[in-house]
C-alpha cells in the first residue's frame, strides 16, 4: 500500500471512530474528515476538489431532500395527528386493537416517509391517547419506534441506508417491493406478535376511560385540511411514479424533487419554515462521507480491498450473506447505520469485482442495517426520540427495558430474515 492509500485509510478510519464515539456531532466530524481527505489528496496529488464533488452521490441526496421537503410541508397540517386519532377511535379504546392500529399507521407512514419525522409526530399524540385512556404509553411508544424501523426496510425511500443501497446497486423502487417487502412483512408480523407477547401484562389492563377517546374529534385535529389534501395528492402521485420510474427512465430523486417542486408551487408555503425543517445536517453528513469514500477510491484503497477478496468467490454465498446480516445488525445496534452502509458499499462492490454474485449481499446489507437499529436505545434515531419524549414524562423508558423488549425484536427480525434469505436465496 502506498502513502496515499495509507493516509486516506487512516483519515477514514479515524473519522468513523470519532463518529461512533459520538463525542462530537457526526456532521462536524464527517465534514472535517472530508476536508482533511481533500487536503491530503491535494498535497499528495491523488484527490482534487473537482473529484471530491464528483464523488458525491447527488441521486441519494436529491431523493432524501425531495422527501424531506414534502414531509416538512405535511407536518404542520396535523395529518399525522389526524391518522392517530382515527386509529384511536377505530380501536374503540381496546388496548390490543389500539396497539395494532397505531403500529400499522406508523409502519405505513415510515415506509414512504422519514422514520424520524413519523415517530416525532406520532409519539406525542400516542401519549395523549394513552393518558386520557388511562393506560401506560410505554408499550405503544416503543412499538411505534420498533415497527417504524422494521417497516422502513421495505421500500427504497423508507430508510436512508436503503436510499444508499438503491443508488449503489441500481435497485429500483419495485426491486425493493419484490425482494425486501415480503421479508419485511414476515419480520414485521413476527415483531408485532412478539411485542404483543412481551407487553401482554400492560396490554391486558382495562382502560379507565374509553369514553374520552371516543370523544376525540378527528376533523378538529387536522389543522389545515386543504393543504393536507394538496400535499397528499402530490405524495400519492410521487409514490405512483416511484412504481414506474424505471419504465419512464427517470431516477427516484427526479420523482421526489419534482414532487417537492409541484407541492411548493401548489401550496406556496412559508419557505423559511419549510427550509428550517429540512435536516441539512443529515444531507451534509451524507455528502461528506461520499467525499471520503471518493478519496479512498482515488488513493487506490478500494483496489487493494478488491485484491484481498479475490478468493472470496469460493466462500458459500448463502452463509456469507447470513453472516453479513448479523454482523451489520450487531454493528447497527450500537453505532450509526449510515456510515456502516457507506463504508460497506465499496467493499460489496469489491466482492463483485472479485467475481462474486453480490446482488443478494445488497439485500443482506439492507436487512442488517435496518433491523439492527432495534437492538438498543441508541440503535436508531426513532428509538432515541421516543425515549427522550418518555424521559420528559412520569414513566420514562429505561435502557434496561429497551434491552428486554427491543433486543428480542431485533433478534427475531434477524432470525426471520436469515431463514427466509437462506430458503429464497435464488430469489435475490
Amino acid at each position: 500500500m502506498n502513502v496515499a492509500a495509507l493516509l486516506s485509510s487512516l483519515i477514514f478510519v479515524a473519522t468513523l471512530v470519532l463518529i461512533f464515539t459520538e463525542k462530537i456531532n457526526r456532521m462536524i466530524v464527517s465534514f472535517a474528515g472530508g476536508m482533511l481527505m481533500v487536503t491530503a489528496g491535494q498535497v499528495l496529488h491523488f484527490y482534487e476538489m473537482e473529484s471530491a464533488i464528483e464523488a458525491i452521490d447527488f441521486e441519494t441526496l436529491g431523493l432524501l431532500m425531495g422527501m424531506m421537503i414534502i414531509v416538512a410541508m405535511l407536518e404542520p397540517t396535523g395529518f399525522f395527528q389526524y391518522l392517530a386519532v382515527l386509529a384511536a377511535r377505530a380501536s374503540k379504546g381496546k388496548p390490543m386493537r389500539l396497539f395494532v392500529l397505531l403500529g400499522i399507521v406508523t409502519t405505513l407512514l415510515s415506509m414512504f416517509l422519514d422514520n424520524v419525522t413519523t415517530v416525532v409526530l406520532i409519539a406525542p399524540i400516542t401519549l395523549l391517547i394513552c393518558e386520557i385512556l388511562g393506560v401506560s404509553a410505554i408499550p405503544y411508544l416503543m412499538t411505534e419506534a420498533l415497527l417504524s424501523n422494521t417497516g422502513g426496510v421495505a421500500t427504497l425511500v423508507g430508510d436512508p441506508p436503503n436510499v444508499l443501497i438503491g443508488s449503489a446497486a441500481g435497485f429500483s423502487f419495485n426491486d425493493f417491493l419484490v425482494h425486501s417487502l415480503p421479508i419485511v412483512a414476515v419480520a414485521w408480523l413476527g415483531a408485532l406478535l412478539l411485542l404483543r407477547y412481551l407487553f401482554k401484562k400492560e396490554l391486558s389492563k382495562r382502560p379507565r376511560s374509553v369514553r374520552a377517546v371516543m370523544k376525540l374529534n378527528p376533523a378538529q385535529s387536522l389543522n389545515e385540511p386543504e393543504t393536507a389534501k394538496k400535499i397528499l395528492i402530490v405524495l400519492g402521485a410521487a409514490i405512483l411514479l416511484f412504481f414506474v420510474h424505471h419504465l419512464l427512465d427517470v431516477e427516484p430523486a427526479f420523482v421526489a424533487l419534482g414532487a417537492a417542486a409541484v407541492a411548493m408551487l401548489w401550496v406556496q408555503p412559508d419557505v423559511h419554515e419549510v427550509l428550517k425543517k429540512i435536516e441539512w445536517s443529515v444531507l451534509v453528513f451524507f455528502g461528506a462521507l461520499f467525499v471520503m469514500v471518493g478519496g479512498l477510491e482515488k488513493a487506490g484503497v478500494l483496489e487493494s480491498i478488491i485484491g484481498l477478496f479475490r478468493g472470496a468467490s469460493s466462500v458459500n454465498p448463502i452463509l456469507f450473506g447470513v453472516c453479513l446480516i448479523w454482523v451489520v445488525a450487531s454493528l447497527s445496534a450500537v453505532v450509526d447505520n449510515i456510515p456502516i452502509t457507506i463504508a460497506l458499499i465499496p467493499v460489496i462492490h469489491g466482492f463483485g469485482e472479485a467475481g462474486m454474485n453480490v446482488t443478494p449481499l445488497w439485500w443482506a446489507l439492507a436487512f442488517g442495517a435496518g433491523f439492527g437499529g432495534n437492538g438498543t436505545i441508541i440503535g436508531s434515531t426513532a428509538n432515541i426520540i421516543v425515549v427522550t419524549l418518555s424521559e420528559k414524562t412520569r414513566t420514562p423508558i429505561t435502557a434496561a427495558l429497551w434491552m428486554r423488549r427491543g433486543l428480542p425484536v431485533m433478534l427475531a427480525a434477524c432470525v426471520i430474515a436469515s431463514i427466509l434469505y437462506t430458503i429464497f436465496y435464488n430469489w435475490f
Partner: protein, 161 residues
Amino acid sequence: MKSKPKSDAVGIRDCMKSNVISISETATLREAAAIFVKKHIGILPVVDKNNKLVGVVGLSDLLNLELPDFVRFIEDLDFVHDFGAVETTRPTAKILDKPIKSLMKEAVTVEEDCGLLRAYALMLQHNLHDMPVISKSRELAGIASRVDVGASILSAWEKGE
C-alpha cells in the same frame, strides 16, 4: 394581608402587603397545598428559621404535578373534548410528602426601597403576578401584586403629578 396604597406612594414599601403568609423550608408539598387551599393565594414564599427568604412556590407549580404529560407536547388541544382518565388522577402520597425544596424556585425579589416602575417592569419581564419584597438583610418584608404596584402608579395620575 391588607394592602395599604398611599396617595403619595413612591416605593414598593408603600403598596406591599406586609402581613405575608409564608412556609418553612422544612415543610412538605402537602402542607403547601393546604395553605394554598385555605388562603386562596397564588404564591407562597419559602423562608428559613430566621425568616430569610430562600425561594418561592407558586400555585401553578403544584398544579403542574397533576397536569397530564401530553399538555406539554400537543400545541392545540381543541380536538380533545374530554381529558378522561387524567381528570381523576392525583399525585401519589410519595410525591406529596416530598419537601417543598424539591419544587421551590429561586425568587425574583426587590428591596423595600425599590421604585414602583422598576418593580412593575421586573414583574412584567419575569411574568410574575406577585413579587416578594425583602429587607437589606434578605428577611421577608412583604409581598406586592401587579395590581398593588399598578394601582399605586396610576394613583399619581389622579393628582396630576
